[in-house]
């Protein structure tokens, strides 16, 4: 499934991991709108129907509440459903079963609930307020859910494998802007990457940039840019929001004494709030500066390009903030 140039895109990484897990484990199936013959709105499951049949590649009516609850029931009796929401925005229609049926169940009963919830999310595609949402903050407060947000093709593959094998409901959020923009040399490893382990994707001395999803590649680009000016940015990809690898984050901040958190979700109660609050709790005496949050403005995501660019964090803004924090 590599592209002509032998490279694997972020999207293909997702598809490869899903394919491998469906091959490996007959209890894994995929359910969602248009995932069958059509191969999904973004074509992640292209070819899956032919390969695995309609029994395991299940097209559903437009009924997010219903098919999410279905996944819960199937998981309770031993299957490992993977649920695709066509756009993460529509997961709002499954908010109730996710938080009340899936998330709380194991704690209440001890029964396993191995459901993976896959959803393409995010902005920068000029898709407007109800096709561009970052949904992690709707769910991160809810005990019992894991939240996985890969920022690279390698992580997309390894973290999806782990999500599917995990015995908990796992919200696996695919940044649709990255789908065809990020690519790495194939073949790609399908070894599971443990949930809850952050990745220091670039070591640095002067400031820690704590981020995830599209923030990782954006952060690395900015780090390269600042490097030329002699500013050394450590980029920490948290990879999973829940569980959060506080230790890696705190160690980085202890080293650099400065922390900036970056995500494309809106600022108010974005996950950056949790990260910033935690950093100052755990590494207060190491901080030379307050933790700064770079995030989208507290507005819906606009459609029109100049408007969207004004709302969602841009590279220049990230660079400028990092410079300011380092210089301060």
């Amino acid at each position: 499934m590599a592209t002509d140039d032998g490279q694997v895109t972020y999207l293909e990484a997702v598809a490869l991991a899903l394919d491998a897990e469906m091959e490996r484990d007959p209890d894994v199936f995929i359910i969602g709108e248009d995932v069958g013959q059509f191969g999904g709105a973004f074509k992640v499951t292209k070819g899956f129907l032919e390969k695995f049949g309609a029994r395991r590649v299940v097209d559903t009516p437009i009924a997010e509440t219903g098919f999410t609850g279905l996944a819960a029931g199937a998981a309770l009796v031993g299957l490992r459903p993977v649920v695709e929401y066509q756009f993460a925005d529509f997961i709002s229609c499954a908010f109730d079963p996710i938080i009340n049926v899936l998330a709380r169940h194991h704690w209440r009963t001890g029964d396993a609930m191995p459901v993976t919830l896959r959803a393409p999310f995010g902005a920068r595609l000029r898709a407007g307020p109800t096709h561009s949402q970052s949904v992690e903050s709707y769910f991160a407060h809810v005990p019992g859910l894991k939240i996985v947000m890969p920022g690279t093709p390698e992580d997309a593959a390894g973290l999806l494998v782990s999500s599917i094998r995990d015995n908990n409901p796992t919200l696996y959020l695919e940044n649709k802007y990255l789908y065809r923009r990020l690519r790495v040399a194939g073949p790609i490893s399908l070894e599971p990457i443990p949930l809850g382990v952050a990745n220091v994707v670039r070591e640095g001395r002067d400031v820690s940039l704590i981020t995830y999803s599209a923030g990782v590649s954006q952060g690395l680009e900015v780090a390269d840019e600042l490097d030329r000016d002699g500013i050394s940015v450590e980029v920490v990809d948290v990879r999973t929001l829940v569980p959060l690898d506080v230790e890696t984050i705190v160690n980085s901040v202890r080293k650099t004494s400065r922390a900036v958190v970056l995500h494309e979700a809106a600022k108010r109660l974005g996950y950056g709030a949790e990260i910033a609050a935690t950093i100052q709790e755990e590494a207060f005496w190491h901080l030379d500066q307050p933790v700064v949050r770079i995030a989208a403005k507290n507005t819906p995501t606009p459609t029109s390009p100049a408007l969207e660019d004004a709302v969602v964090p841009q590279r220049a803004q990230v660079a400028e903030t990092l410079r300011k924090v380092v210089r301060a």
Binding site: T60, P61, T65, G73, V101, H105, T109, G110, D111
Partner: protein
Amino acid sequence: MATRTNKRKTEEAGAIPVSKRDPELLRRMYRMMVLTRAVEDRMVAMYRGGDLLGSLYTGHWHEAISVGAAATLRADDYMAPLHRNAGAHLWRGMEAWQIMASFMGKATSPTGGRDGTLHYGRLDLGSYNPPSHIPANFPVATGMAFAAKYRGEDRVALAFCGDGSTSRADFHESLTIASVQKLPNVFVIENNQWAYSTPLSLQSSSETFAIKAVAYGIPGVKVDGIDVLAVYDTVAQAVARARAGDGPSLIEAVTMRMHGHAEHDPADYVPRAMYDEWSEKDPVERFENVLLEAGVIDADTAKQVREEARQHAIAARRKALADPMPDPSNIEEGVYAD
């Protein structure tokens, strides 16, 4: 007893004479209905006496539905009950003391006191433990049925909900999916005339609840919910249909909620005349009379069954009272499975 409400319905539930039925099964159903009543009566006393933590939901006049429907299942079938289904739980092996323990927050409740009240399902008995949100058990039941079909097993999944629950997303979306996927589901609506204080006229405008099956192209049958044999036959037919791979059915069983929504609710919004009318239609009494008339039990047996049930409930209370409260030290464990 069962009335046809749409043309795709399968054969009318046959009025099999009592004498042609398995007397052991009949006696077990009777015992379970009597036990359900005794346990719930005991719990009402416990509620009044302050034994319980919070409120109490009971299934008075739902015993024929709970027991009649559950009795159609094999042990390896799935069940997704709600708050009027103590009888169905007991049928499947839930202990009376454990139900009580749930309403008391005891360590011995199915959730170890983490959840409480009606949230006492047990997956080891094939029964889902639902959250408060109604009818969240409906989509879950479609998943259980989906898994059975996926694996080529002939298990079925039976789910219950109230008349009020039919208004919700979960009802509509699960029936839509189950019918399209031809899942082995049986959905039972317990129409007890009220949803908390809301009467049927403010809940739904369809002629019956059974007729809502038309919207899903599946059989819809309305049945007398205080007649345990009618319930049994109707549900059995739907179960057989599901087991045969012919897809889901919707059954409306009509009864009356004879207590408040929960015991804290005096339910003074219910017209007295309704209580008067329905108090004549006690499903336990009715079944007892049927069995007495048919000679399946005699008066002594009936008396004995009732007394045993009473003693069982008393013993259950004693055990539940004596059971320990949970230890809070491990409360953060188990949020996630390993």
